[in-house]
Amino acid sequence: MECGRYPGYYQPGMSLDRAPHLPHYGRVLGLAVPNGSPETQESSVEVIAPQAVDTLIRLLAGDGYEVVGPTRRDGAIVYDRVGGLEDLPVGWTDEQAPGHYRLRERDDDALFGYVVGPHSWKKYLFPPEETLFRLTRQPDGSFVTEPGVSDIPRRAFIGMRACELAAIDVQDRVFLGQAVQDRGYAARRQDLFMVAVSCAEPGGTCFCASMDTGPRARKGFDLALTEVIDATQHFLVAEAGSDAGRAMLDRLEPRPASDAEQAAAERVWAEAPEKMGRQMPADAREVLNRAFEHPRWEETAERCLSCSNCTLVCPTCFCSQVEEVPDLEGQRTERVRRWDSCFNQEHSHLVGGAHRESVAARYRQWITHKLATWHDQFGTSGCVGCGRCITWCPVGIDITEEVTAVRRDPEGRG
């Protein structure tokens, strides 16, 4: 199948930051390229107090960043602007299971004692709706095209989980790693300040450990935090992943961790992978590449509502449509890009109707793209193991269960 690839495009295995034909890639990602793996750094572990996270938010705001982080709204933890610790879901956690999400109060004051909710950072970098161009009719019948993107704020993201850092790397390959780059995405991506949080208590639908994307944040951040909380202590281990992160950490006046504190943090890192609610088979790609005609898709289609929830909550799904939005007088019009989903019938519309008419074909497209053909296209899985598609599926279809079922019965004999 190699003859489908042509010079100038991303090829599996290619190192993107060294790809000579992608001159903007390294620059765009400059902020997020780590200056060294945290594991190999000789410097001793540094800690900050919980209150320093409040200072961090205020310092970033003072530096001109629009600071975005987790906050509690409508019974869920979502991402929105935060002004300080009072906006974070301090003392809250989430219960997640297939088709199930509930918040409940914790018996401590953990700052980050929950996992990911229905939102992802995708909504900021690749907005659900974006005006690509504004066009104006000219007297001679021609038209003038102006870019639709303007006034992009510099943003700081607080509380990014390891799976979410991996998801941004996946979308970078789509929007920055191909022959044409998406200008809006590049502009929004360029000046990010990224504060990661390593998960201490993965949730019921999490499976990042089996996707090798978490739960510890290891790269792609400016600053990474690991929260340690028990009856006797509450602090955060802080690691800088870039020069900007180092400079910010210095302003938070960290102190060296005691041996006991370091041991406590290491326990969090060691134990978190064992707390995953789910697991993806390591050979998911190979399993699905052999399963395009598997009868399982018909069975899953009997439950699947084709509602597209899974693609909307997915932090890597990138399908979009472009709509024409003209004014009433016909003199001005806009090209507006909106999130689309391979579960929508119109997604595959061709002369004569939808190419993927059946729900089974649409589910197969989604799961095989996510876990198999994505590797061919972008050199990585399209799944980061965040579990959102499982939690937010109204009928609780579980991507790990689907792969496991096909794997157990590759011939589909039932």
């Binding site: 495009y9 929007f175 191909q178 022959a179 689309d340 997604h347 061709l350």
Partner: protein, 286 residues
């Protein structure tokens, strides 16, 4: 074997640029198929000249955008697009006359392997509007006729009245260095030619199976059966090329609509070596 290389795209490839319709040709009595010859408006920096097989995104102000293959290029920088009115955007385009301005961005995608066909027999098989994307290959080969071996052009139309580029078909028919074969699904009282599927034209042979390059463009089922016929005639699968069609919104690999398995038709196609598409032809609703 890879298709011919094409020029790289400018950094910004998403904005429609104004091009003016210089002339309109209407091919079918129903007006369903029409061709525009387009020239860039003053101030527009046109992209690289499209290679045969590539496509542009054509845009109608206030209506929308569609991917359309290039059907010819003129010596003075004009681009011809042949369009069939079948959807909301193409139906709105149907009534435009010379002088109107439309948007254009491109060219996008892969090209037919014209250079690889030099010194070999050339078999071109078109179904319906699929003649349009192959037309630039015929033009290029006729311009440099001596560089190619035998040239077999097979064309299947729904009926005699649905045939497009009748004047050019007549001109190719009149040449003794082009073997033009035409069939229709339904004849008329006056039709003296073949009736039936286009694969029967391929089955007649008339080309060197060891030294032929075939390019096929038409409905998916037609391309699939044509490729099988060519294989039965002894062509190697890698000497057969097909051009795929899918829903497209962006043309640069962002919108996700045009995927066929691992492939983005906009970026990895529309022209594919047959062995790349053959597995996909066998899976329904892929």
């Amino acid at each position: 074997m890879a298709p011919d290389a094409v020029a790289t795209l400018p950094d910004q490839a998403m904005a429609p640029e104004p091009w003016r319709i210089h002339s309109v040709r209407r091919d079918v009595a129903s007006n369903e198929v029409f061709s525009w010859t387009l020239y860039p408006e003053p101030g527009v920096e046109p992209g690289p000249p499209p290679a045969p097989g590539q496509f542009n995104m054509l845009y109608l102000f206030g209506v929308g955008e569609v991917p359309i293959s290039v059907s010819a290029i003129t010596d003075d920088g004009g681009i011809v697009h042949t369009i069939r009115a079948v959807g909301s955007v193409t139906r709105a385009m149907q009534d435009l006359e010379a002088g109107a301005v439309v948007g254009l961005r491109g060219p996008f995608g892969t090209a037919w392997p014209v250079e690889q066909a030099r010194g070999r027999d050339l078999v071109l098989v078109a179904g319906g509007i699929g003649l349009a994307p192959l037309r630039p290959v015929i033009h290029a080969a006729l311009q440099r006729r001596s560089e190619f071996g035998r040239m077999v052009v097979c064309y299947g139309a729904r009926s005699p009245g649905d045939m497009i580029f009748r004047d050019e078909l007549d001109a190719w028919e009149a040449r003794d260095d082009v073997d033009l074969r035409i069939t229709v699904d339904r004849g008329t009282a006056a039709w003296r030619g073949d009736v039936g599927v286009v694969t029967q034209l391929v089955d007649r042979g008339g080309f060197d199976r060891r030294n032929t390059l075939a390019m096929v463009c038409g409905p998916e089922v037609m391309m699939r059966f044509t490729a099988s016929s060519l294989e039965r005639r002894g062509l190697k699968p890698e000497d057969i090329f097909v051009s795929m069609e899918r829903n497209m919104r962006c043309a640069v690999g962002f919108c996700g609509h045009c995927q066929i398995g691992s492939h983005f038709v906009c970026r990895d196609g529309p022209v594919f070596p047959y062995p790349v598409m053959e597995p996909a032809f066998r899976v329904r609703e892929l």
